[in-house]
């Protein structure tokens, strides 16, 4: 069994998703236990796969023992292992959170089993994208993840359905761009395997067809990652979708497309060693920097916590393409750490948002006054996540920025250092405004924040225990990833393969 871990990482969530309706129909009481134990098992496998990568190096798995280029290849290396581990962790933690959330949510999601099916399929797609070793399998998993994402977003009601429809249209156009890109590569080389492409492509890099395919791939993956200016779908989908779905979408799902950009740039197109790719990476760096500033500025302008989080996602997600564009080992380590850090931080913030929605019936920033008295633990989690977003030590957000700044100055991108520092300041502006409301300002007389408790009993814990547990796991994770970032960089991220395409 141990030898088949890479394929099991994909098969377990896939089979769980397919079996879930049957389990729910026959033994409704067992549904949750079945789902959670499957996701926990998958998480354990992800840890084992990661350990294998650290001790024995990259793991190439051939489906059915068909060697590439004929067979399908799954690859676990330092970067994909990190993404898989993050996706598996987030899937489990969010499954822990989701049940209590839906039980208390007044808007009431009717088709809960369907939600869990789509959610698990989304996890399948994310893990599959991370592991895929050929570019068409990557497309298939991208679409599995995206289609289930459209579905879960639409479960938030009428507004969400419209947001999901726009997301679907843009996402599908992005997918056709991606497909055109791989069609052109296939026409030029006759293969779809990434390892083989990296050998065949260098002499062809000057040809217009490869240039066009690079553009199409960047457009496609850029739209899916919500890279500015291709982010139009994101804010509405994040605002109206159901909280647990968005907690996964904004964390694991968005990361994996940035990861796909890394795979293409360094392991297919040769990274900075190829003039054409170096140019593409430079453009990627500009767009990412623009995204960081745009997202932060727009986040400051928002009055609603949900929408603020959506714009802050646009900003934070752009750190990963920025690290990829810089292309030094330190910057790549920063990008990989951001995959971990932002997933936990934004996941935690969305969970707190769900808690606010249940307990205070508002996500309006002005109405959060006095929240620390009603929800002390959530407020504490909010403070830690906010520190991580701003980048204060010892949270993981600080070490992300530190690695990126180190990478940018090594590679001679002084202006990127400026962008990173400015972004930290802008993040401080909007997160301190929230913390001020939560901790310092007294609630106004007759303010609704202090009195309504929703469906929750006034006595007892501020939120159901599974929800609090999920948040606290992530808070501990944020601190642990921050304090342990030196160890992670040394032992895991140093194994990230730039395939000779790092900046000189």
């Amino acid at each position: 069994m141990m030898a088949h871990i890479p394929v099991m990482l994909v098969l377990i969530p896939l089979l769980t998703a397919l079996a879930l309706p049957a389990v729910n129909w026959m033994m409704p009481r067992l549904t949750q236990i079945f789902l959670k134990s499957a996701l926990l098992f998958n998480l354990a496998l992800a840890v084992l796969a990661m350990r294998h990568v650290v001790t024995e190096g990259p793991w190439h798995y051939w489906l059915g023992n068909w060697a590439p280029p004929y067979g399908i290849e799954f690859v676990v290396d330092a970067m994909s292992g990190t993404v898989v581990l993050v996706a598996a962790t987030m899937a489990y933690v969010i499954a822990l959170y989701a049940r209590s959330f839906f039980r208390l949510d007044e808007a009431g999601l009717q088709a809960r089993t369907l939600f869990y099916v789509l959610f698990t399929l989304m996890a399948t797609g994310v893990i599959g994208v991370a592991l895929a070793g050929d570019i068409f399998t990557l497309y298939v998993f991208i679409e599995i993840a995206s289609i289930s994402a459209y579905g879960v977003v639409a479960m938030g009601g009428g507004r969400a359905a419209f947001a999901a429809f726009r997301y679907l249209i843009l996402g599908t156009v992005a997918a056709t761009f991606y497909l055109l890109g791989i069609g052109l590569i296939f026409a030029m080389t006759g293969t779809l395997n990434m390892a083989q492409l990296s050998e065949l492509l260098p002499p062809l890099m000057g040809s217009p067809a490869i240039l066009a395919s690079l553009c199409f791939l960047m457009l496609g993956l850029g739209t899916k990652t919500a890279l500015v200016p291709l982010h139009a779908w994101l804010p509405d989908a994040h605002t109206y979708g159901p909280t647990p779905a968005i907690a996964f979408l904004a964390t694991a799902l968005l990361k994996v497309f940035s990861y796909a950009i890394y795979r293409f740039m360094y392991q297919v197109f040769g990274g900075h060693a190829q003039p054409v790719t170096a140019m593409a990476l430079q453009i990627l760096g500009w767009l990412a920097a623009a995204g960081i500033l745009y997202g932060s500025v727009m986040a400051i302008a928002q009055k609603d916590f949900r929408r603020m989080l959506a714009y802050s996602t646009i900003a934070q997600i752009s750190y990963i393409p920025l690290g990829i564009a810089i292309g030094t080992p330190a910057a790549l380590a920063g990008a990989a750490l951001q995959v971990i850090s932002h997933s936990m931080t934004k996941g935690c913030l969305f969970m707190i948002k769900g808690g606010m929605h249940l307990k205070l019936h508002t996500t309006d920033i002005g109405a959060l006054r006095g929240m620390s008295a009603i929800m002390p633990l959530s407020s504490f989690a909010l403070a830690i996540s906010a520190f991580s977003m701003i980048g204060l030590p010892p949270t993981s957000g600080f070490f992300v920025k530190w690695q990126l700044v180190r990478g940018a100055s090594e590679a001679g991108f002084g202006w990127m250092v400026g962008v990173l520092v400015l972004s930290g300041l802008l993040n401080a502006v909007y997160f301190f405004r929230i913390l001020e409301n939560v901790y310092i300002r007294k609630p106004e007389q007759g303010g609704h924040a202090a009195e309504s408790h929703g469906n929750l009993p006034a006595a007892g814990p501020e939120l159901p225990l599974p929800m609090l547990a999920a948040m606290l796991i992530l808070v501990v994770g944020i601190l642990a990833a921050g304090i342990g970032s030196g160890w992670l960089t040394e032992n895991v991220f140093s194994l990230i393969d730039l395939a000779g395409g790092g900046i000189q």
């Binding site: 068409f136 497309y139 298939v140 679409e143 289609i147 459209y150 579905g151 639409a154 009601g157 009428g158 507004r159 359905a161 419209f162 999901a164 429809f165 679907l168 249209i169 599908t172 156009v173 997918a175 056709t176 497909l179 055109l180 069609g183 296939f186 026409a187 509405d236």
Partner: protein
């Protein structure tokens, strides 16, 4: 000579035209069903592109003719196999989009994008 090269690629120009039609149709129309139809045009154009890549005039199905091992006589089966998957993906996106349209129509009682955008802001 130039004309010959142009006409040997004419099928690709037509596919590109179909793709661009889809793209602009999607941008231009404010009616959601028309947007969806334009999106399908784009998807179909990509499928045709892949199929033409594998096509050969007078090509035969691989393996089926006994004793024929000449590579140039075969139609490349790989693009067709890939597009079988892509067609399934297109089917599911179209299906889920139509389901969204039903929900949107029920909730907003219109399928006009600019109208819904206007109401969403207020």
């Amino acid at each position: 000579m130039t004309a010959a090269i142009f006409f040997s690629y004419v099928i690709f120009w037509l596919i590109a035209l179909l793709y661009v039609c889809g793209f602009f149709g999607m941008m231009e129309h404010s009616h959601l069903v028309k947007k969806l139809m334009a999106m399908n045009l784009m998807q179909t154009a990509v499928i045709l592109f892949f199929l033409v890549l594998g096509q050969k005039i007078g090509g035969v199905t691989p393996i089926s003719v006994p004793g024929l091992t000449d590579l140039d006589a075969y139609v490349n089966p790989l693009p067709q196999a890939l597009m079988l998957t892509a067609i399934v993906v297109n089917l599911s996106t179209t299906g889920i989009a139509l389901a969204f349209l039903i929900v949107i129509k029920k909730h907003w009682n219109t399928l006009d994008e600019s109208e819904i955008m206007r109401r969403m802001d207020t």
